[in-house]
Every structure is written in structure tokens, then in C-alpha cells.
Amino acid sequence: MLRYQPGDSLAHRLDPRTKLCFQLAFAAVAFAYTSPRGLLAVGTLGLLALAAADTNPLRVVWSYRFVMPFLLAAPAVAMLTLGPPWLVPAAAVDPALASVRNLLVIAVGGGYIRTTSVTDSRAAIQRTVPGRPGQFLGLGIELVARFLPVLRRDLLAMRDAEAARLGTDRPLGERMSTLAAVGLNRAFRRADRLSAAMQARCLSWNPTLPPLGFGWVDYPIVGLSLLLFGAAAAQVVGLAPSF
């Protein structure tokens, strides 16, 4: 699984907002140029981005293996037709290109995860999304990051306890409702204790965030992102040469 790891790669030094902007631009250009040559260029750019994040592309692909069945099945099913000739390989070309493009878009997101801490992401979101929604998202993201491991441990412990008492032989619906009910109770109890603690510590809408600032490394990447957005827009309005 991909996680944040401290480091000194180029992507580690970038502002999180720059990295989010690049991901959006990369996705835009990948969607605009979904052709074999276009995807070759986009794929090369994606590999460069992962190299700048000091991230192994194979590890990224492995960590997203859950999407593979869908990416592989879509072209395979698109080939099938009801009736002769049963298989039409040409019909699989577009879905296959879409699968490659989607994998590239997903994989580039892995570089962000590997190089950005939750605190920096929170600061980036809170500074980008204006007003209370931004503050809600910022605070909420840190709370989710803090409580996910705890609640996950609760749920997995319950599942193990159930299995130890032959609960796995029970009907599926009953197992789901037992697990969810106990999980909900734990979550609500934690939420009530958390809200009392946050009020006791004077939770405010305007806490002091860690400093974020654009450095010299950010400007070329922002410029590249704008170029990519421009290239995608040119393709959409039909100004770009066929690629």
C-alpha cells in the first residue's frame, strides 16, 4: 500500500497545491489525447512524474491492483457480440486505450500520496477551498486520518471474534448487521468523547496552519500544468493537430 514517506525528491519539495494542479492537468491531457501516440507521450510524462516523486511505478500499479479486473474485463467484454462472428477484436481497441489511460491517471496519483503528508494536504485544502467548507474539509481530513486506523482495528477485531465463535456460519445479512451495529456504536461513542474533548480545548474555525509557500521549483511545474490544460483545451475545441 502506498503511504507518505519523508524524502528529498523533487516532488517532496513541491507545494501540495502544485501537485494537485499537475494531477488535474495530467488527467485532462490524458482524456483529450486517448490515442496510441497520445498515450505514449502521456505515459512518458507519467513515468517522469513518478520518477520525480522517487516512486517505483510497479509498486504503484501493484497498490492499485483492485482496479485491474475492471480494466482488463472492459475490453474483453466489449469484443463479445451476440451472434456470429461472436468475437469482434476491433471493438476492443477503444476500451483498451481507455483502460491504459485510466491506469496512467490513477498511477500518477500515487506519486502525490508517496510525497505529501496529511498535515500538508490539510493546509492545502483549507487554503484552496474558501470559507467554512474548506475549514470543515481540512479539520475532517485530519480526523479521518487519525481515526481510520482505530476504527479499522475495531472492525477487524470484531470480525476475528465473530469467526472464533463460528459466527461465519451465520447468514450474510446477520453478520453484516452485527458488525455494522457494533462498529456504529464504537464510532458514535468515540465521536461523543472527541467532541467533548474538542470543545474543552476550544476548537476554533481559524487554527494556525503549517506554512505553505510556492518556491522556485513550483513555478515550472505550474507552467507545465497550464500548458497541459491548454493542450487539452485545444484538442477539445478542435484546434490541435491529430495526434
Binding site: M1, V67, V77, L137, I141, A145, G173
Partner: protein, 196 residues
């Protein structure tokens, strides 16, 4: 550190409570994605409880905080907290995964379920809501989730709607009935302590 000269703007008590519940609910939905049950219809893709969390968010937190909570779940995933299926995360999943339609439909689904159960945006006591309305609300939520999920799959994978539905939905739809029954069972238990 960035310094701020404005005075501290305290969050009022009710909002703190709702905020804590929304955040914990988002974390619980994320936790549900780690607990999988075997799927006899598609062995490679197990059934997880995220959709059950979406229904419960709409019912227990209401349409506004429920939608906010599930929106928070997506935002947490976008910045890299491992909340999506299989412990994955990243903005790329929300932009390019074949399942992106399902993910984007979750906040909408929670809102629809909440609106039907609470008959508007004002919170009602959901323990007094009849089973037919609960089931109707969750069926409406399921329709929204599968409609957006199927269209999303068809668009992102460049396949037809029928192919998209057969690939991304058919193996899961029967389990939604089980999840709806499970939610009704949870709400009818006395085990849920935190009701207000």
C-alpha cells in the same frame, strides 16, 4: 508558522458534535472498505460494506451532514488517506478509476436517503420512521448509486451501458437487498446507543 492576528473564532457546541460525528462516520465508512465478505457471484471482487455506510449516513446524520460526511470520505481519499476499496487512495482514483461513478454517487446517495427518511432537510427521529419508508429511501439511494456508477463506468471505459452494467453492477446488486435488510435490522435493534 503562519501567524494570524484575528481573534479566535470558536466553533459552537452543536456544530462540534456534528463535525465529530461526520468525521467519525467518514472514517467508519472507510473502515468498512477493509471488511469484505466473499462474493459467490464474482470471487475476485469481494463485497464490502461501504454502501451500507452510505445508507446509514443518510439515515442517522440526515441529508446535510450525511452528504458532508461522505463528501469528507471522498476528500480524505483524494489526498491519500487509504479509504477506498482495497486500501487504495489518490485523486487519480476519483478522476480515472472505472469505479469513479460509484464513488461520486455516494454523497448523492446519502443525500437522497436522508431526504426521503427525514422528509426534508430538518432532522426527524428516524427510529419512528416506518420500515416501508426506510426501505423505499434505500432503494432510491441504490438506484442513484447504480445509475451514476454504471454511467461513470460506461463513459470512463468507453463501453456501452449494458456492458458497463453487466461488468460493474450485476454481481453486486443482489447484495444490496441484504444490506438494506441489515440496515433495517440495525435500526430496529436496541443496540444503537447514540440516538438523538
Amino acid at each position: 508558522m503562519a501567524t494570524s492576528t484575528e481573534s479566535v473564532d470558536l466553533v459552537d457546541g452543536t456544530t462540534v458534535r456534528n463535525l465529530a460525528r461526520a468525521a467519525l462516520f467518514a472514517a467508519l465508512v472507510a473502515g468498512f472498505s477493509y471488511v469484505s465478505f466473499p462474493n459467490p457471484l464474482a470471487p475476485s471482487i469481494p463485497v464490502t460494506l461501504q454502501v451500507l455506510g452510505v445508507y446509514l449516513a443518510g439515515i442517522m446524520l440526515g441529508p446535510l451532514w450525511g452528504t458532508a460526511s461522505i463528501g469528507l470520505y471522498l476528500a480524505a481519499g483524494a489526498v491519500g488517506i487509504p479509504v477506498f476499496a482495497g486500501g487504495s487512495a489518490g485523486l487519480g482514483v476519483l478522476l480515472g478509476s472505472p469505479t469513479l461513478g460509484y464513488l461520486w454517487s455516494y454523497p448523492v446517495g446519502a443525500g437522497v436517503v436522508g431526504l426521503v427518511v427525514h422528509r426534508g432537510t430538518d432532522l426527524q427521529d428516524y427510529t419512528t420512521v416506518g420500515v416501508p419508508l426506510l426501505v423505499g429511501a434505500m432503494v432510491a439511494g441504490t438506484v442513484v448509486i447504480y445509475a451514476m456508477g454504471t454511467v461513470g463506468f460506461a463513459v470512463i471505459q468507453n463501453v456501452g451501458l449494458v456492458e458497463a452494467f453487466s461488468l460493474s453492477a450485476v454481481a453486486f446488486v443482489p447484495f444490496e437487498a441484504v444490506k438494506i435488510a441489515a440496515v433495517v435490522g440495525i435500526l430496529r435493534r436496541d443496540a444503537i446507543a447514540a440516538v438523538e
